[in-house]
């Protein structure tokens, strides 16, 4: 069974390719899969009708009670026959309906087959969650089918409407299914039906599932999506209305009725809505000029009818329901296919323009007559047999109001059946005869076959009764077993049928009078308008909420967030603030001095109007912070903070050369006072939080146990370093990735294309023509070749000399820091920063060529190598049977050279080092060299413009 469903989807994926070769004949090829399904189901007839249930069970998600469980009993067998049989005929019909040059053919055929597959999966599912999956698949595919012509507004709207309405119901159903699953521990329909849970929760769950079924089957108040859905190509309408989609709801009700029909609210809901839907559909069908729309409202009416029967949940109503289900599938498919032929060959569906069509296409006319007669319930057709048994069962098992409603509905059915036949085929006085192209035999084949079945099955009532029996046995035994037959004797059902036919004839005969009556009672209210108002309300509230919350100003968002912090945690803090807080003024007076310095620097930063001053002052707070770190006993932090502050300062200055000297002038407006107030409040809140938090702390820190393992397993004396490289090495891994990302971002914002072209060596600079090139000995590089790369007014001899003295020292220091970091202050970060600073000094003293001489390597390559080394070091332990980022210690014995102790995490640290050096090199290349070049080219442009101006 699973293979058949899968075959549909596989074939659907092939369709676009097939269409390219075969054109519209693709439909004939793809019809093979439904045909195999049909034959397969037919071959099971004997076994299934003997009461056997075929099952297939593939475990999928056992923890969720969600399995690929399929089963095939009588109900599923009948639905499979309908879905696949009508699927074959409609697909074959498509081969004549469409043209080869239709551009949407590939997509359409694929979606159609996939839709058939989803419908097949739906009716075969035993697991209700699986059923839900297929249920929503049919929704999605029907959305694509209805909106097949996206260029037309009407079809887009109809598709959207169908999607929203049925998805809404589907979601309600999902909740219901999950509730039932929670209640009884299974999602299997078969188990739920044999052991139905009860209680209020079960009732709510069943009602929610009903909402899903009713929305899918277009019952009031969801009915309006179905007439809209006829915007789809006619074969789709035929399949949607007759065999699938809307039948899904009917199928679900039929499946669950044996167990849940007695749940409070079930019958009341479905019977009321069903009868009302039947009447409303019939009433509106009688007002349509478009014969297809007439049929669509007819389907709405018939769906109400079908749900009424199935919802009663007794043996006899179930029999009548199955008969009616089959009858409806056959006649409705026939009629839609006939409309398709008329539309295709006569060019219109407007019954005011169609005239004399019967004579032009007699075969089609006969098929349509049989189908319409079956719809109206005339003997000796299947529709009559079905309707007879419905009347019989309803008279026995329900009340007079339901029977009266259904009879009235049947009257309307008779009337609109006549209206359809008269409208589509009749010869109307005063209307020119419609010109009709001849109908191809293959085009007419499908409706003719269906009509023939309608006729033949009318005589096979007893056989059908026998076939349906296993399904009926689920219901409580009754003293009277109804049987499907053409002749039951002169009883009440026959009389009701006669009344329906007679009054229906009368209605059609007096149709002008009836139309006037309808015009008088026409109301402007409709469910569709309510839906539209609802959609508008959703959209309007979205606009209001967005307008209210999305003010577009980043500062406003930040202020909102901070206000929430003040309002919620802040309020809790104020409530809990007590007098007996344990406070020390400082750990050492030096903290007080540095703290005061930092506060003063912060005040001046906020007041500063010059960019450079603000940057230097904030740097001061940073150095102050570093001092506080040192005083606290965190030398690693202090070192890194100082290096970072220095680097930041240089980078800031490099960029600030390009930005205006002063901030944009802003008056001391009310907003600024508000910002100050907010800053004050946040500062106070932070102080309060910290006071409370430190006083609330009573446990020991987790790190009290670190020293011993740090030495034993991490192999380092510096615990901070061991934490970074071993205990929390994943953090470090993430951190260097962030650095690479940030550097890449900077490079792309400044270079705008690639940074690879950045490196220029001194030897590439062309000598001016007047200068004779001096021979230099090969292999010897010139240090700080200022005369060639910098103009004299930008050089500083003292700085150059200092650079010559310092550069090597700094590099050596950084290498020391890299290797000493594990046991003393230092580490990859600090070492990388020091190397970076050494390069920075070279750049500042000698300009951009000097930088490239000092580090003739691309920053991106350096960072990439670093990341690679770190990753390799992280993964290497796996090769030795360890875990990622595990470190090992190796001792060497080098005799007189000593016994060096190597910890493998130093390789990881080496990666970190390379990334940091790459980052700083990148910053120098972008904010330094690149901006130098930009400034230079602007100066030259200005000069040449000035020169040009003089010449003019």
């Amino acid at each position: 069974m699973l293979a058949l469903v899968a075959a549909h989807f596989a074939l659907a994926a092939l369709c676009p390719a097939l269409v390219r070769f075969l054109g519209r004949r693709t439909f004939l090829v793809v019809a093979v899969v439904p045909l195999i399904t049909f034959v397969w189901a037919l071959s099971l007839t004997a076994r299934v009708t003997d009461g056997e249930t075929l099952t297939q069970d593939v475990e999928w998600l056992p923890s969720l009670h969600f399995d690929l469980a399929l089963n095939l009993g009588v109900l599923q067998w009948l639905m499979t026959l309908i879905v696949s049989g009508i699927g074959v005929l409609v697909l074959a019909y498509c081969a004549w309906y469409f043209e080869d040059d239709d551009p949407s053919l590939g997509q359409f055929s694929g979606v159609f087959v996939a839709f058939a597959g989803a419908m097949l999966g739906l009716v075969l599912s035993d697991d209700l969650l699986l059923l839900y999956v297929f249920w929503e698949l049919t929704t999605v595919f029907s959305y694509l089918l209805i909106g097949n012509d996206p260029a037309r507004r009407a079809s887009r709207l109809a598709a959207m409407q169908a999607l929203i309405v049925t998805t809404l119901g589907g979601l309600a159903m999902l909740v219901g299914i999950l509730m039932l699953g929670q209640l009884s521990g299974t999602h299997r329909a078969s188990e739920l039906v044999s052991h139905p849970p009860d209680g209020t929760v079960a009732t709510v769950a069943v009602v929610l599932i009903l909402v899903g079924a009713l929305s899918k089957s277009a019952l009031i108040p969801f009915h309006f999506w179905l007439p809209g859905a006829m915007a789809a190509p006619t074969p789709v309408s035929a399949y949607l209305h007759a065999a699938s989609m809307v039948k899904a709801g009917v199928f679900l009700v039929a499946l669950l009725a044996p167990a849940f029909a007695d749940v409070p609210g079930w019958r009341a809901t479905v019977l009321t809505l069903g009868v009302l839907t039947m009447l409303l559909g019939g009433w509106r069908a009688l007002r349509q000029y478009d014969v297809k729309l007439l049929l669509a409202y007819g389907t709405v009416s018939q769906l109400g009818f079908l749900l009424v029967i199935f919802s009663v949940g007794t043996r006899n109503t179930a029999l009548a329901g199955l008969a009616m289900l089959l009858a409806h599938a056959l006649f409705k498919a026939t009629l839609f296919l006939v409309v398709g032929i008329i539309d295709h060959n006569a060019g219109t569906r407007d019954l005011r323009e169609l005239s004399g069509v019967a004579r032009k296409m007699p075969v089609v006319f006969v098929a349509a007559t049989v189908a319409a007669a079956s719809m109206a319930g005339l003997p000796p057709l299947l529709g009559f047999v079905g309707k007879e048994s419905v009347f019989g069962a309803l008279v026995e098992d329900t009340n007079a109001a339901v029977v009266a409603g259904v009879v009235l509905g049947s009257v309307l059915t008779m009337a609109y059946s006549l209206r359809f036949m008269w409208g589509a085929f009749g010869t109307k006085p005063g209307v020119a005869e419609t010109s009709v192209e001849p109908v191809a035999a293959g085009f007419a084949a499908s409706p003719v076959i269906l009509a023939a079945l309608t006729l033949a099955l009318g005589f096979l009532g007893p056989g059908l009764t026998h076939a349906f029996e296993p399904h009926l046995d689920q219901f409580p035994e009754t003293d009277h077993h109804a049987e499907l037959a053409l002749w039951h004797g002169l009883e009440l059902p026959l009389l009701l049928s006669a009344v329906a036919v007679g009054v229906g004839l009368l209605l059609f005969w007096k149709r002008r009078l009836f139309a006037q009556l309808q015009a008088l009672t026409a109301s402007t209210w409709s469910a569709e308008r309510v839906y539209r108002a609802g959609m508008r309300a959703v959209d309007r509230s979205a606009v209001e909420v967005t307008g209210l919350t999305q003010r577009g100003s980043v500062a406003a968002y930040l202020a909102f967030i901070l206000l929430v912090v003040l309002a919620l945690p802040g309020a809790v803090m104020v409530i809990n603030l007590t007098d007996d807080l344990d406070v020390v003024l400082w750990d050492s007076p030096a903290q007080g001095v540095v703290g005061a310095l930092v506060v003063v620097a912060a005040i001046f930063t906020a007041r500063s109007r010059r960019r450079l001053r603000a940057v230097i002052l904030v740097g001061t707070t940073g150095y102050g912070t570093a001092m506080l770190f040192l005083l606290h006993g965190a030398p690693d932090l202090a070192l890194t903070q100082i290096l970072v502050e220095t680097t930041s300062l240089v980078v800031f200055v490099l960029v600030l050369r390009r930005l205006p000297e002063y901030f944009t002038d802003r008056p001391l407006s009310g907003r600024r006072w508000l910002r100050m107030l907010l800053g004050l409040a946040v500062g106070l809140a932070v102080a309060g939080f910290m006071l409370l938090a430190t006083n609330a702390r009573s446990g020991d820190p987790v790190s009290v146990d670190y020293p011993e393992p740090a030495l034993a397993y991490g192999g380092g004396h510096n615990i901070v370093s061991v934490i970074l490289l071993d205990i929390r090495a994943w953090d470090t891994m993430g951190e260097i990735s962030v650095l690479v990302a940030a550097a890449t971002g900077v490079a792309s914002l400044i270079f705008l294309d690639t940074r690879l072209s950045g490196i220029r060596r001194v030897r590439e600079i062309p000598y001016p023509e007047t200068v004779e090139k001096l021979p230099t000995s090969p292999g010897r590089r010139v240090w700080l070749p200022g005369p060639r790369t910098l103009s004299p007014d930008r050089r500083s001899i003292i700085f150059e000399v200092v650079t010559r003295l310092m550069f090597h020292t700094m590099v050596v220091l950084s290498i020391y820091l890299l290797f000493a970091g594990h046991n003393h202050v230092g580490g990859g970060f600090a070492a990388g920063m020091v190397t970076g600073l050494a390069l920075m000094v070279r750049y500042l003293a000698g300009g951009r060529y000097e930088l490239d001489e000092a580090a003739p390597v691309d920053a991106g390559i350096l960072m990439g190598t670093g990341l690679f080394v770190a990753t390799a070091a992280a993964l290497a332990p796996i090769a030795f049977g360890g875990v990622v980022l595990q470190s090992a210690q190796i001792d060497f014995h080098l005799g007189p050279l000593g016994d060096p102790h190597l910890v493998t995490s130093v390789f990881f640290d080496l990666g970190v080092y390379l990334v940091v050096v790459g980052l700083i090199l990148d910053l120098l290349r972008t904010f330094g060299s690149r901006l130098d070049r930009q400034i230079l080219s602007e100066e030259r442009a200005a000069e040449s413009a000035a020169a040009g101006g003089v010449r003019l």
């Binding site: 930005l659 944009t664 430190t694 046991n823």
Partner: protein, 150 residues
């Protein structure tokens, strides 16, 4: 545990001033504020890590005299990340100056448009396209119903 008042006051002052600055429009000022806020929060880690002590290096001090190393490792990561953030924001400020002649953070234009719609009590632009016409209305390919014309 004792709370170190000096550190708390310094840190919260830095936080407050940082907040004042990041609510500004100029991207450079926002960046300065962010750095200050970062310094303040890093100091808070020190407050939370307990009283000052000896550097957490085994062999140079007794374990019970050491300061807590774990917050230090976290702050070390934060400091280096701050450098990356600074560089990126500076590049953005520079680019903004290149394109617009200033480095002010602008209000979002789309948000302003939605605000205007909300003030005018109107639905969104796409709503009319997606919802208004239905089968109730005589439109393309649909027919008016009987009774409407007679």
């Amino acid at each position: 545990m004792n709370a170190n008042l000096t550190l708390i006051l310094t840190a919260s002052f830095l936080c407050g001033t940082g907040v004042y600055l990041i609510l500004e429009r100029s991207l450079t000022r926002v960046l300065v504020g962010l750095l200050m806020l970062g310094n303040g929060v890093n100091l808070l880690f020190m407050v939370a890590s307990g009283p000052a002590g000896e550097p957490p290096i085994i062999g140079s001090a007794h374990a019970e005299d050491m300061s807590d190393p774990l917050p230090q490792a976290l702050v070390l990561t934060a400091i280096v990340i701050a450098l990356g953030t600074t560089a990126f924001l500076l590049a953005m400020a520079h680019r903004s100056w290149q394109l617009n002649g200033h480095d002010d953070v602008q209000d979002d234009v789309e948000d302003a448009a939605i605000r205007l719609l909300a003030q005018a009590d109107e639905a969104s632009d796409s709503h009319d396209l997606s919802q208004e016409l239905t089968t109730d209305d005589p439109g393309e390919d649909t027919f008016e119903e009987e009774g409407a014309t007679t």
